[in-house]
């Protein structure tokens, strides 16, 4: 097929996985710009659940993708306000399949020619148990500089632990009826002015306010957070309110990782005084407030690091790559 020739050299030899929803056309674009994160697919606003239509729609999107290679910077182009969960899941699976092919592609190359990549490149090996719905946004698909990097990458990828997102359902809600009729909802107006609702898959908690705004917490990835928010909106819609899905925004992301060596926090606070705060009486970890990107890191003696305050995944990765050489300098030598 012609498509094999049009594939970039490092994606050749990869057959499209059997049973994937992607057709044979490679969705993966070699010109994905550095650091944009996932380039999301524009979602058609059709509500029908016909599988044939779904496949046709994906082929259209694939054609669009391969022509429009420079994606917009990070902004979600989803304009759909429909709350069809099935659509949402199909879209995410499709993206997951794309990303897994692109992950394999980058994995193959990163093991062969690491020095061709930018020095800040992470390995894109997905850790076991996580579906890589996003490519590591730090890996450019084309080599940026042929020179040797100044320092090697850490090889450690922070794991996301929590995502907090907000969405506007666009209509006033009657919390009492929601609390009475919905399952797994608690409402105690004297204690807190919102309904606290929980779903099991993805395991998340939502605070639903009477103004129609909702906060969704507990998801482990951006897509899961969006899917969960849609599920909550669907619940509210089924209770009879004209719920929409406006302005979904991720407000905070928390990640954690382990550098696998003990750290001398006293040394770190001496040299990085203007960023660090270490008060053993108040908290056993060192609180490092990084300026760029604006992330707060909790660094512990054991070597565990918690990163929080990010709006996008790339900030967590970038912050960790910035702190790792500093931490290596304060490794305990005993």
């Amino acid at each position: 097929m012609d498509q094999n020739n049009s594939l970039p050299p490092y994606a050749q030899g990869l057959a499209s996985p059997q049973g994937a929803m992607t057709p044979g056309i490679p969705i993966f674009s070699p010109m994905m710009p550095y650091g944009t994160g996932l380039t999301p697919q524009p979602v058609q606003s059709s509500n029908s659940l016909s599988i044939l239509e779904e496949q046709q729609r994906q082929q259209q999107q694939a054609a669009q993708q391969s022509t429009s290679q420079q994606a917009t910077q990070g902004t979600s182009s989803q304009t759909s306000n429909s709350l069809s969960i099935l659509e949402e899941q199909q879209r995410q699976q499709q993206q997951a399949a794309q990303q897994s092919t692109s992950q394999q592609a980058t994995q193959g190359t990163s093991s062969q020619t690491p020095q061709l990549f930018h020095s800040q490149t992470l390995t894109t090996a997905p850790l076991p148990g996580t579906t890589p719905l996003y490519p590591s946004p730090m890996t450019p698909m084309t080599p940026i500089t042929p020179a040797t990097p100044a320092s090697e990458s850490s090889g450690i990828v922070p794991q996301l632990q929590n995502i907090v997102s907000t969405v506007n359902l666009g209509c006033k809600l009657d919390l009492k009826t929601i609390a009475l009729r919905a399952r797994n909802a608690e409402y105690n107006p004297k204690r807190f002015a919102a309904v606290i609702m929980r779903i099991r898959e993805p395991r998340t908690t939502a605070l639903i306010f009477s103004s129609g705004k909702m906060v969704c917490t507990g998801a482990k990835s951006e897509e899961q957070s969006r899917l969960a928010a849609r599920k909550y909106a669907r619940v509210v819609q089924k209770l009879g309110f004209p719920a929409k899905f406006l302005d979904f925004k991720i407000q905070n992301m928390v990640g954690s990782c382990d550098v696998k060596f003990p750290i001398r926090l006293e040394g770190l606070v001496l040299t990085h005084q203007q960023f660090s705060s270490y008060e053993p009486e108040l908290f056993p970890g060192l609180i490092y407030r990084m300026i760029k990107p604006r992330i707060v890191l909790l660094i512990f003696v054991s070597g565990k690091v918690v990163l929080t305050g990010a709006k996008v995944r790339a900030e967590i990765y970038e912050a960790f790559e910035n702190i790792y050489p500093i931490l290596k300098g304060f490794r305990k030598t005993t």
């Binding site: 003990p262 006293e266 606070v269 001496l270 005084q273 203007q274 705060s277 270490y278 008060e279 053993p280 009486e281 108040l282 056993p284 512990f300 003696v301 054991s302 305990k332 005993t334």
Partner: protein, 287 residues
């Protein structure tokens, strides 16, 4: 030079202040007046000292009529612009008196409070919380840190709020403080427990060695100090229980037990060479 300011009795004077530019001010004998001189003046040590018990009101010589009733009504709005600050200074002095802090720490606290107050970046916070946090910072800066719990004991503010204000003040004044060490607290804890100098020196040595050998990673220096005092006192004639030490140090006795368990295996290496054991090292209690 040290001089007192008599408000209300002075018509015109020139105030020479070593730390501020020369200023002259004029006052009239009226109950309501304003003073343009900064409130502080320096004493022999060069510390700015705030003394306001002599500026509360004038001599009052003419403010009563022949029957003994007061002629003027308003005696209180003398320093309305900074009444909150004077209140805070009074509170700081009270807190410091409860734990017998020397005058230089109180002066430093007052200075810090004044700077924070004038900056207005922490305006919404309770003045007592700011004052307590300033007291904590002043003790640290003078090299004799007090634990947060000790400051809590003399203040009505919770440890959480003092901790928050502490971090905010450091950011607002763009200063930093040194990290606390185990040795900072030894002399105070040991004398409160009535332990002799030998035991105190042994405890200091044990705590320092324990931190050097990294036997207690991640433990608060207070807990390590308490465990060291326990070990030293148990090896000497003056034994103290974990509960007593926990009461003095503000540490739970399970915490002392945890840190003690970490340093117990290396006990023979931690004692100073010239220590006279009343209880030998192998007979130390094992918890």
């Amino acid at each position: 030079s040290y001089f007192r300011l008599f408000v209300g009795a002075i018509i015109r004077t020139t105030c020479y202040h070593p730390n501020h530019k020369t200023s002259s001010f004029q006052s009239t004998i009226q109950p309501k007046m304003s003073c343009t001189l900064p409130l502080g003046f320096s004493n022999c040590n060069g510390h700015i000292q705030y003394s306001f018990h002599n500026m509360a009101c004038g001599t009052g010589a003419a403010s009563f009529d022949e029957f003994g009733n007061s002629k003027y009504q308003n005696r209180r709005t003398m320093s309305s612009s900074d009444r909150a600050m004077m209140n805070a200074f009074r509170e700081i002095t009270n807190m410091a008196d409860r734990i017998n802090l020397p005058r230089n720490i109180v002066d430093r606290t007052n200075n810090l409070f004044k700077q924070v107050y004038e900056q207005k970046s922490l305006k919404g916070r309770s003045n007592d919380a700011i004052a307590s946090a300033c007291l904590y910072i002043a003790c640290r800066q003078e090299g004799v840190p007090r634990t947060f719990k000790e400051i809590c004991a003399v203040s009505r503010i919770s440890k959480k709020e003092i901790g928050r204000c502490f971090k905010l003040i450091l950011k607002a004044l763009e200063t930093s403080v040194d990290l606390i060490t185990t040795g900072d607290f030894m002399s105070r804890f040991c004398s409160n427990l009535g332990l002799p100098k030998q035991v105190q020196m042994a405890a200091t040595h044990i705590a320092r060695k324990a931190v050097e050998l990294d036997l207690v990673p991640g433990r608060s220096p207070i807990s390590v100090a308490a465990a060291a005092i326990y070990m030293a006192s148990q090896a000497s004639a003056e034994k103290r229980t974990q509960k007593e030490i926990g009461d003095i140090a503000g540490v739970a006795d399970v915490t002392i037990r945890q840190s003690y368990r970490l340093i117990y295996p290396r006990a023979p290496d931690l004692f100073p060479a010239d220590f006279k054991f009343d209880t030998p090292v192998d007979k130390l209690p094992q918890l």
